[in-house]
C-alpha cells in the first residue's frame, strides 16, 4: 500500500478536528474534535509502524506501543475534560466556551463584551478563590 494513503487521510482528519476545535462553541463538541485529532495521530503512528517494521528498521513496534499509550492518555484526557466541563457547568450554568471569559482582558473601547459582565465575573472569581 502506498504510504500516502494513510498519511493523507490522517492529515485530513487532523485538519477536520482542528476546524472543530476552533469553530465549535459547546465544550463537549470541542472535546470530540480533540478526539478526532488524537485519532489522526494514531493512524499516522500505526501506518508508519507498519512501514518501518516491514522494512526491518524497527523491531520494537514503537509505533503500535505509542498508539496504545496515546489511546490510554486520550481516555484519561476525556475523563478529566468531562469532569472539568461538568464542574464548569455546575458553577456557571453553561458549557459554552465563548461565555467563559474571566481571564480575558477588559477592553476599554466598545464595551459590549468587557465592561458589562465584569461584575458577576468578579463575584465568581472571588467565590472561586474562597
Amino acid at each position: 500500500m502506498h504510504l500516502a494513503y494513510p498519511a493523507v487521510l490522517s492529515v485530513l482528519l487532523f485538519c477536520t478536528g482542528l476546524y472543530g476545535v476552533l469553530a465549535r462553541r459547546n465544550a463537549i463538541l470541542v472535546l470530540m474534535s480533540v478526539e478526532l485529532m488524537l485519532n489522526a495521530v494514531n493512524l499516522n503512528l500505526v501506518a508508519f509502524d507498519v512501514w518501518l517494521s516491514r522494512a526491518a528498521r524497527d523491531a520494537l513496534h514503537s509505533g503500535q506501543a505509542l498508539t496504545l499509550f496515546t489511546i490510554a492518555i486520550a481516555a484519561a484526557e476525556i475523563g478529566i475534560g468531562l469532569a472539568i466541563v461538568l464542574a464548569v457547568y455546575r458553577a456557571r450554568g453553561t458549557s459554552d466556551i465563548d461565555k467563559l471569559r474571566d481571564t480575558a482582558e477588559t477592553r476599554p473601547g466598545p464595551g459590549d463584551d468587557g465592561t458589562e459582565p465584569a461584575a458577576p465575573a468578579m463575584a465568581e472569581k472571588t467565590e472561586a478563590a474562597a
Partner: protein, 224 residues
Amino acid sequence: MTLAASSHGFLSPTGVEVAFLLVGIVTLGAAVITVTTKQLVHAALWLVVALGGLAVEYLLLTAEFIAWVQVLIYVGSVVVLLLFGLMLTRAPIGRSPDADSGNRWAALTVAVAAAAALVWVVVDAFRTTWIDLDGAAGGADGGSTAVTGASLFQSWVLPFEALSVLLLAALVGAIVLSRKAAAEGERPQGSTNKAPSDKGKAPSDKDTAPSGKDQAASGKEGVR
C-alpha cells in the same frame, strides 16, 4: 526506495488500497459531519462512525490489536462518556443554531490552509514509499496480539507501568474535581452565587423545564 517504486505501478491501486480509500472517504465524511452538524447528539453518533471507520483502517493496515482496542475504548467508552456529558450539561435535543461560534470562517481558513500545506508536504515526501503488507517476514504478523503483547511487555514495560500510574491519577483527579465542585456548589449557591449562575442558567432551564414537566405529568398519569 527506487526499487520499490519501480516494482509498484504509480497509479495502479491494489485491492487493499481501494478498500482503504473507500473506508477513508466514509471516515472523513463522518468526521466532517461531526464537526459541522447542528445537532449535538448527532455529532456524538457520527463520531462513532468515524472512529469505527478508523478501526477498519487499522485492520487494513494489519494492526489487529490496535483495531480492537480502538473499538473497545473509543466506540465503547469514550463516546458513551461524551453522550453522558451532553446529557448532564443539558444539551438541547434537536437543532441548536448557535453550535458554531462566530469565528468559524477564520477556523475554516486555518483548517484549509493547514490541510493544503500538510497534504503537499506529506505527498511530496512519501511519493515513492510503499508499505509491504504481505508479510515479508515469514508470515509473522506485525500487529497481532502476540507480537504486540511481547513487545509491550518486553521493551515497553516501564512506560506501560508509568501509564497505569497516570490512569490512576486521572481517576483520582476526576473524582476530586467532581466532589469538590459538588461540595462547594451547594453552599454558596443560596447566598452569593445566585445572581450570576441564574443569569446563565435561565435559557437552559427554559429549554428543559417543559420537557421535565411533561415527563412528570406523564409519569403521574401512568401512576393513575
